[in-house]
């Protein structure tokens, strides 16, 4: 039992205790022991934070006695990426998730306390979830000993080098993206607990939970939306810069998995705004609130449990199964219970008088549209798995499935947004006229394709007529709805901002305007960016030799030409300090017989050399550690051994192998050398970086220059990652991918339009939501700090 596991076990015990006390207090309506809950959960939070700190520390000092550390890092990596290793695998990311969730749950508990039965139930659920996460970690611990990897190694064995980090994660975006995403998922726990508690309470005849918590729910949802948006954006930008072949969005399963909760969260934020205790949204808003987290768990399960890679890998690893169980639990609480309640409650009261055109109905349509968009992504993620599991037939979900189904929905959503905003300002007749004009324009534009390139997907690979119709739509059709939406949003902002009651309301309106304009720009930039991205290739030869071909290479079919200026090739790690990869003689003596039979690198100063006919033995530091080299001549590799010199060697370490020595490292001549220039056999190359310095010209004018190429990881299955060169322009990005092999650089120059618009849209989304979050007069952080949480939530109907 090591420190990490003790911390996890402690956290599990105290959190289980807290959950138990709260559950009992709720069920028996008895307040005994509830006073301990805060202390227990505080202790749980400290223990989990401690466990995370301990794991991070082990990564920073590359403590390979921990199997997870050994699997996910290596000494040559800089500090930032050693920390990234913490959440590179399942165990570490669940620890991070759990630690963040317990902080959220603990904070919520402290702010709100446990004044009534409802709050006890809500907190019992959040702490229950954290307890479950910690239970998963006890089953499959991030602190498992290295002996789980090397079952036959002698006790105390610790490798001197790690396996390394997944090369795709060696990127600044990926260092930030996972924590941001897990913060958002952790924040979603609260809305889930409130939504689930609401329906449990309704079923038990204890009345509504949601009404009193509405303000909190709104805040939790908005903060998690903010973080999730940032996470999606970071993920997209990472894929744009790192992969070099996917662009910002490739609809790969992991990307789709994070988009699903984002879309549904967006819908939920809209639904909660319209919640009224006696209206239809009294069921839908809490139900959606509960569902978001279930969706996050569902998509994470699909991606993380190995389900997507293969339907047969359900069984391996505790994490996979625990995720499936968690998925079932959260789906029951978040989806089945609310649905059952809705089904049983057939006498729905509704505030609307049957008129179609009301703000509420329009908003309802928006919520449903977002629901449909979520479904498209969710279904695309699920049906190939389902179908393969049931029939064994593998079907494809290519990006056109997502694009073609989402496109018309997004178009309708934009029209609806424009109409809603217009309706708010202009009233029924004028807004209907506007809708008719822009709607007709969109439909007409759908048939106007200046060339085939304007069509969404002119010849999809299936003969399905529905894809044929959808695929022939011209992207010109997005322009009228986008214009209408921006017009509507701006018009309403101009009408509302001057009329706002106070400073908070002004900021809130501005924020909402920014979010909606951002959303419109986002969907406007996406199709054009993909459809009008152009690419062409050029090849330069003689790159690796002395005679680099520096002439202009025309990029066929474009105005571009490229020039290779220089070729660079580097290997990492470069001459690392011996301490970072080898054991000193003192360390060998300290670890003793546990090293017997293991392969080790050692370093020290040569104090004695004895040459025999078959072998040379070399004493290090006057110690009882010797290096043995089996050879036929005097040199060891290219290294002539003399006393007083530094030496590094790698080989199998034998304990009590020869008299007068404790440890003998049996090294081949290739695995022995000087610490200043260690041979490959001692410090193998981890990263081989090849690149060409390029200059890109358009019509003879320099556009950009820099290095593009690839990184290869020989120790990690020769995995390759591209280093791309991106010139971020106002209208188009110039994007250069270069592959260097056998002295030839093959370069692809891509033009990606409207990336600036996309970046602007992301800034607007994030800045807008931050503003709303802080300044909203009803549910902003300002109101929270100005008054107590419960007093702002007493009369939910009064706000809105």
């Amino acid at each position: 039992m090591n420190v990490g596991n003790v911390l996890l076990a402690t956290a599990f015990t105290v959190l289980l205790g807290a959950t138990g006390i709260l559950a009992r207090a709720y069920l028996a309506d008895d307040d005994r022991h509830v006073g301990y809950v805060t202390i227990l959960t505080g202790a749980g939070a400290v223990a989990l934070a401690g466990a995370l700190a301990q794991l991070t520390y082990q990564f920073v000092v590359t403590d390979y006695s921990n199997a997870y550390v050994w699997n996910n890092t290596a000494d040559y990596l800089p500090l930032l990426y050693r920390v990234t290793g913490v959440y590179a695998g399942n165990e570490g990311s669940i620890l991070l998730w759990a630690a963040l969730t317990v902080l959220v749950a603990f904070t919520a508990g402290v702010i709100r306390g446990f004044p009534d039965r409802h709050s006890k139930l809500v907190h019992a659920i959040t702490f229950g979830i954290v307890t479950y996460f910690v239970g998963m970690l006890l089953l499959q611990s991030p602190f498992a000993s290295i002996r789980t990897e090397f079952a036959n190694a002698p006790p105390g064995y610790i490798p001197t080098s790690g396996e390394g980090l997944n090369p795709l994660l060696v990127d600044p975006y990926m260092a930030i993206h996972p924590p941001v995403m897990f913060i958002s998922y952790a924040l979603l726990t609260m809305p889930f607990a409130i939504g689930a508690a609401h329906f449990v309470s309704l079923f038990r005849g204890d009345g509504s939970v949601f009404a009193a918590w509405r303000g909190s729910v709104t805040r939790w949802l908005r903060v998690s939306w903010l973080f999730l948006t940032v996470a999606v954006a970071l993920g997209g930008l990472w894929s744009y810069t790192v992969l070099g072949w996917g662009g910002i969005w490739a609809w790969d399963p992991v990307e789709t998995a994070i988009l699903v909760p984002w879309l549904f969260l967006t819908a939920t934020v809209h639904a909660v705004v319209r919640y009224r205790p006696n209206d239809e949204y009294r069921i839908l808003a809490p139900a959606m609130t509960a569902t978001v987290f279930s969706l996050a768990i569902y998509t994470t399960s699909i991606v993380r449990s190995g389900t997507f890679r293969s339907v047969h890998s359900f069984a391996d690893g505790g994490i996979g199964i625990s995720f499936i169980v968690l998925m079932v639990l959260t789906s029951v609480l978040g989806v089945v219970v609310p649905l059952a309640y809705w089904f049983l409650q057939d006498d729905e009261a509704t505030g609307s008088d049957g008129a179609w055109l009301t703000r509420d109905n329009l908003l309802h349509a928006a919520v449903l549209l977002f629901g449909l968009l979520t479904f498209v992504s969710l279904w695309g993620l699920s049906f190939p798995v389902l179908r393969a599991a049931v029939t064994g037939v593998e079907v494809s979900v290519e990006s056109h499935y997502f694009n073609l189904w989402s496109y018309p929905l997004v178009g309708v959503a934009l029209l609806l947004l424009g109409f809603y905003m217009d309706f708010d300002v202009e009233g029924r007749r004028r807004s209907l006229a506007g809708l008719a004009v822009f709607g007709t324009a969109a439909v007409v534009a759908a048939f106007v394709a200046p060339s085939e390139i304007w069509q969404l997907y002119p010849s999809p690979p299936t003969q399905s007529p529905i894809y044929g119709v959808l695929g022939s739509i011209s992207v010109l059709s997005i322009l009228p709805p986008a214009a209408y939406a921006i017009l509507g949003v701006t018009k309403r902002a101009l009408a509302r901002i001057p009329a706002a009651a106070d400073r908070g309301a002004v900021f809130k309106e501005t924020g909402i305007t920014a979010i909606h304009v951002g959303a419109v720009l986002l969907v406007l930039s996406l199709p054009f960016m993909y459809m009008f991205a152009g690419q062409a290739s050029a090849i330069a030869t003689g790159v690796a030799s002395e005679s680099v071909d520096t002439s202009y290479q025309d990029v066929a079919g474009t105005d571009y030409s490229v020039r290779v200026l220089d070729y660079t090739s580097n290997e990492f790690p470069q001459n690392p300090e011996p301490e970072s990869y080898a054991l000193s003689t003192d360390q060998v003596a300290a670890r003793g017989p546990s090293l017997n039979g293991t392969v080790q690198a050692v370093y020290g100063t040569v104090t004695d050399v004895r040459r025999g006919p078959q072998a040379t033995v070399i004493q290090l530091d006057g110690s009882r550690t010797w290096v043995g080299v089996i050879q036929r001549n005097e040199t060891a590799g290219n290294f002539s051994v003399q006393t007083g010199q530094g030496l590094v060697a790698r080989g199998r370490l034998m304990w009590n192998f020869v008299p007068n020595a404790d440890a003998t490292v049996l090294a081949s001549p290739q695995a022995i050398g000087s610490p200043a220039n260690p041979p490959e056999g001692v410090v193998p190359t981890r990263v081989q970086v090849d690149g060409v310095s390029l200059a890109v010209y358009e019509d003879g004018k320099l556009v950009t220059s820099g290095v593009a190429g690839q990184r290869e990881y020989p120790q990690q299955g020769n995995m390759q990652v591209r280093d791309v060169l991106i010139d971020r322009g106002l209208v188009t990005d110039t994007y250069v991918i270069a592959g260097v092999s056998d002295g030839t650089a093959s370069m692809t120059v891509k033009q990606v339009p409207l990336m600036s618009l996309l970046r602007l849209s992301l800034v607007l989304l994030v800045a807008g939501m931050s503003t709303v979050l802080v300044f909203d007069p009803e549910h902003g952080i300002q109101t929270l700090t100005a008054s107590t949480a419960s007093s702002t939530d007493v009369e939910p109907e009064a706000t809105d």
């Binding site: 494809s396 189904w405 020769n718």
Partner: protein
């Protein structure tokens, strides 16, 4: 009917419609024996392909792909659907390897030909010796050039 109820019903009708249509019009990528790309049909059993290739003295083209790879879709749309490419491909025994599959044999092929991202093609002799490798996407002309080069290399090898 109340408007919101009508909207909600329309929502579910749409949802079911999308679900049904998309699932049934999703291109079948593979069944027990073949996987389908563009208008071409690829074997999925490498051993069978090896045997066939040595019986018929034809080179093997191995295609490493995934369901989510955008350039694989470009291959489907712009390369494999081309009749000339199809005619050229007929000279090869075609095997497709889904990089997401956990078939043991696929893992070995992936390692042997160092194919760790999609799309990649290797063209090999029936004995497994590599003739040509296409890393990433090659457009129609480039792809045809690669095929021609592989055939030249294969014929040269035969004459030795």
């Amino acid at each position: 009917m109340k408007p919101r109820k009508a909207l909600t019903i329309a929502f579910f009708v749409f949802l079911l419609g999308i679900g049904y249509l998309s699932m049934h019009s999703a291109p079948v990528l593979s069944d027990d024996n073949y996987s389908y790309h563009g208008e071409t049909e690829w074997r999925t059993d490498f051993s069978e392909a090896e045997q066939l290739a040595s019986e018929q003295d034809r080179p093997i083209i191995v295609y490493f792909w995934t369901t989510w790879c955008t350039y694989c879709e470009d291959y489907n749309q712009y390369v494999y659907s081309d009749p000339e490419v199809q005619a050229e491909l007929d000279d090869f025994v075609k095997v497709a390897v889904n990089l997401d599959s956990d078939q043991g044999e696929y893992g070995r092929l992936q390692q042997r030909y160092n194919a760790n991202y999609p799309p990649q093609h290797v063209i090999i002799t029936p004995e497994g010796e590599q003739l040509v490798k296409i890393s990433g996407y090659a457009d129609r002309e480039a792809f045809l050039d690669y095929l021609a080069e592989a055939e030249r290399e294969y014929d040269a090898g035969d004459n030795q």
